[in-house]
Every structure is written in C-alpha cells, then in structure tokens.
C-alpha cells in the first residue's frame, strides 16, 4: 500500500476503513541470511537498506519489546551535521542528506523539518572555536553560518542576551539541521523493510549466541534458536549486556539521559537552540510542547529513569538563556539508556567472532545518525567491508590510537 494524497482523499470519503497494519507479525523462521538484534531506529534502518540497496531480503529484526520502545522513541529528535573530526563529519553529513530524501524514499511522513539548529556562544574564545567548527562543516558541504548578537536580537528577541554570567555574543547556525518525528522514523523504516520481505519479530529477546570454533551460527531467543549466516547487534544502551553473551567487553558504559516536554504553547521557537555555557537544548514540537534536555546523569545505570539533580541543572540552563521558559509547565519527563563510548564516537564494525557484527556506542547523539548508521551497517554486512564514510568507527581504535574524540575529554564517558 502506497500513501498518496489521492489515497487519503479516498479513505476520507469512505470512512477510513481501508487502512491496514503496515507490517506483518510473522513467527520466526528457522534460518535467515542476516539476523539484526534490536528493533530501534538503527536496526530497522539497517534492515531497510539491506533489503533495498543491497538486495539482502532474507532478514529478521529481533526486538525484545515492541519496535520503537527504546531510544528511537525517547530522544529529543534533533538532527544536524555540525561535527568537526574527519572520522565523524562526512558520516553525519551523509546522514543529513539521507534525511533530506527519506520521506520520498520510504513513502512515509516522518515530519522531517529542517527548521535550523543554532549553537549559541558566549565568549570570544568560544566564537573562535565555532568558526573553526563552521570551517570543518563547510569542508564536508554541510553549510554553516555565523550570526552576531545583533542578528540574533532581531530573530530571537526572547533570549537573555545581557545575562550577567553568560551574555550571548552570537551563534553558529546550521540551517539544514532540525527535528524529525522520532516514532515515525521507526515505523517508516519498519514498513519499508517489511514490504521488502524482512521479518520484524517483536517480543523476541536474544538470550545467547551460538558460536562454534569462533564462528557465529545463530542466536538463542525466548522464541527458540534461530540460525543465521550473519548476526548483527544493534541494541544501543544494552550493547554491553548483549555482547557479553558472546564473551566480549566493550569500550562502553551505559548511562541515562533524561528529556522533558512542556504543555503545548503557541509557536515561539523557530528552530533548535542550544546553550553554549552549559548543557541545554530546546525545540518546539509541532504539537506546541517545548522539548528539551541537557546532560546525562553521569553514573552507570540501566534504570531508564534519572535523578533530580540533573532536572535542576537542565532547568537552570533553560532559565539562563530564555527566562520565559520558567512560565511553562512541565508535562512529562523520561529517560533512555545511552551507550556512552570511551571517546564519544560510535562503532560500526566486525568483531573477533566471524559472522558477528557490532553497531553501538551512539551516546546521546545517535538519532540523527539513524539513516547513515543503517546504510553503513548494511554495507558492512553485505560486502564484508566498511562503507567509506564509516571506516574509522572501529572497535580497535583505542589500541591503535585512532580515537575520534570530538571534545578531547579522554576515556571518561560521562564527560562526552
């Protein structure tokens, strides 16, 4: 079933009785060419691109809960490609380009909205750093634009420009950045993969690997054993738990990141705004709620719920740049599990076990990466070699010394 304006009109006139579920609910087969563990954004995107671009259709996605129950349905929906290092920036720019054509490509409304992202700066030193970043962005064709305080005063009069501690001196715009309806990303990729023959199997938890003589031949699940030529883990915050089943220790700690949304308000924020002197980012959803967040809580956890000190810190960040936010009432807050890596950058790689692949370490920034992560992982699975834009996202980079540390924080995951 393809969506089109005509179809909507027809359904509207005939009582909307013709809409059908957009993916099947199959029982697992005994064997697949590729098993993808984890029905989050990245797992579903991998299945979609495997089946669409690389012609591998005998694929199952195994999800322990329901698809979209993980981070893909919990994030603050920001997309951007304003990274700096060569190991990252071409990859994120590839992702932004894929977002730009995604809805036409998978025929699903994901509400991709390039409403811009603005990173505020508050000192001369920070402006210099942002100019440097802007240059790196322009090298990868991502587009970047520096705005001075006068321009921002005209565009965003509600910001606290003359804050005594953190006066706003200007900002770095990426006009192509923005937001995407996160659940629709999971649903769109799921529907696309399903139409190409991929089995999406929900409530199916992987509980072990079948590894014989260093070769992975399948997985054990709560629905019984399933064989596969290739097994691809894609479980974000659960990465260490799942890969431990294959005897691996990862350069990853699991942390919680919280997000917040206010009651619906009239349109006030044109795009995404981030604070440069603390960690705070905010945008306004199409329903009108201000969606915002800040730092991770900072300690190892699998609890999917955070603590109050970070709530206070996030609220302070909001008050420091846009005091009007203090008038808005908070509607909901929640948390999701972050796979924080040792240098703040992700992995898309083979493992020491033949036929077992790993995708993870996305930290708090993997939503924007969803299409490129799926594309590059599919490439690796289909061709047995990394996609040119993901060659540096290796698991052995800490021993080889080729780390990708955007912030230069070292091996301290809660600082990335």
């Amino acid at each position: 079933m393809r969506y089109s304006a005509l179809k909507i009109l027809k359904e509207g006139l005939t009582g909307n009785k013709g809409w059908k579920p957009v993916w099947r609910e199959p029982e697992p087969k005994k064997e697949y060419d590729v098993i993808i563990i984890g029905g989050g954004g990245h797992g579903l995107a991998t299945a979609y691109y495997l089946s669409k671009v690389y012609g591998v259709t005998n694929v199952a996605v195994l999800e322990k809960g329901w698809i979209g129950s993980g981070n893909v349905g919990r994030n603050t929906t920001i997309i951007r490609s304003n990274y700096m290092l060569p190991g990252n920036q071409p990859f994120y720019e590839m992702s932004l380009k894929l977002w730009e054509g995604l809805e036409q490509d998978f025929n699903y409304n994901a509400m991709v909205s390039q409403r811009s992202i603005l990173n505020l700066f508050h000192s001369d030193g920070q402006r210099d750093a942002f100019v440097r970043r802007a240059n790196a962005m322009m090298l990868s064709d991502a587009g970047a634009e520096l705005a001075d305080a006068a321009q921002l005063r005209r565009e965003l009069p509600f910001l606290d420009f003359d804050n005594a501690r953190f006066p706003i001196k200007g900002g770095l715009y990426q006009r192509r950045g923005g937001t995407v309806r996160h659940d629709a990303v999971a649903w769109g990729f799921a529907r696309g993969a399903d139409m190409n023959g991929v089995d999406i199997i929900q409530n199916c938890e992987v509980t072990g690997f079948h590894i014989e003589n260093g070769v992975c031949t399948g997985v054990e699940t709560n629905k019984g054993p399933i064989k596969a030529n290739k097994v691809a883990s894609c479980v974000a915050g659960s990465s260490s738990r799942v890969m431990a089943l294959a005897g691996m220790r990862l350069p990853i700690e699991s942390h919680v990141l919280q997000a917040f949304v206010t009651e619906g308000l009239k349109p006030t924020l044109p795009g995404v705004i981030t604070f440069g002197a603390g960690h705070f980012y905010v945008s306004q959803s199409d329903k009108g709620g201000l969606v915002f967040g800040g730092d991770i809580d900072g300690y190892n956890t699998y609890a999917q719920c955070g603590n109050l000190p970070v709530v206070e810190d996030v609220a302070e960040g909001g008050m420091a740049i846009m005091p009007m936010i203090g008038r808005a009432r908070l509607l909901r807050s929640w948390g999701g599990l972050m796979d924080m890596s040792m240098d703040g950058s992700p992995f898309i790689d083979k493992t020491h076990v033949e036929g077992l692949f790993f995708n993870g370490g996305w930290c708090y920034g993997g939503f924007k990466a969803t299409p490129a992560s799926g594309y590059c992982y599919a490439h690796l699975l289909a061709k047995d070699e990394p996609h040119p834009n993901a060659t540096e996202m290796r698991l052995d980079r800490f021993i080889s010394g080729h780390i990708i540390d955007e912030k230069g924080q070292g091996n301290q995951p809660n600082l990335h």
């Binding site: 260490s240 738990r241 431990a244 220790r249 990862l250 350069p251 990853i252 700690e253 699991s254 900072g298 300690y299 190892n300 956890t301 699998y302 609890a303 603590n307 000190p309 040792m342 800490f398 021993i399 091996n411 301290q412 995951p413 809660n414």
Partner: protein
C-alpha cells in the same frame, strides 16, 4: 541518590563526582611484556553490568575522599560504601 559516607554519614550524590568502575584501582604493572594490551583493557574496556556495580565516587564538595560505592545499576540501591583507600590497601596497593 544518597551516599552513606563512612566518615560523614548520608550525603547527597550531587556533592560527588563519578569516575567509573572501581576496577580502575587495579592499575596494571607497566613493566610486564603485554603491558600495552593490559593498559588498553584497563583504560578502555568495561564490564558495564546490569546489577551490582562497584564504582569510584569522589567527594569533591565535601571531604575530598574517594569512595568505593556498591550500587545496583538497575534499581540505584546502594548496598555498601567504603573508603577507596581501605579497598586499595586490602587489594594489596600501598595506599
């Protein structure tokens, strides 16, 4: 979270800075033949368990002591708090 400091009693976790797995106490011997590998494991690889976890917290806004906190990463329940110095000495470190 409230951390029951062995010397100061119950303190708000917000007074502390979190470092990570208490295995960081067990720094490898730099003179062994496979030291590079050992330091890679020490510096970069983590067990990251779901359940009981021994971890290092630094009382930055308090008495500046390092603590080993045993905490459940699923429930955040803290079952044991020790001075890191005591743990390190018990594991054979000089201090």
């Amino acid at each position: 979270m409230i951390i029951n400091h062995p010397l100061l009693g119950p303190r708000d976790a917000a007074e502390f800075v979190y470092l990570g797995d208490a295995a960081l106490i067990d720094r490898p011997d730099p003179s062994v033949a496979d030291a590079a590998e050992k330091f890679h494991e020490y510096g970069y690889l983590r067990d990251n368990p779901a359940g009981e976890h021994q971890e290092l917290w630094y009382h930055e806004q308090g008495d500046r002591s390092w603590l080993v906190v045993t905490r459940n990463t699923l429930s955040h329940e803290i079952s044991k708090v020790e001075l890191a110095r005591d743990v390190a000495v018990a594991r054979g470190r000089g201090r």
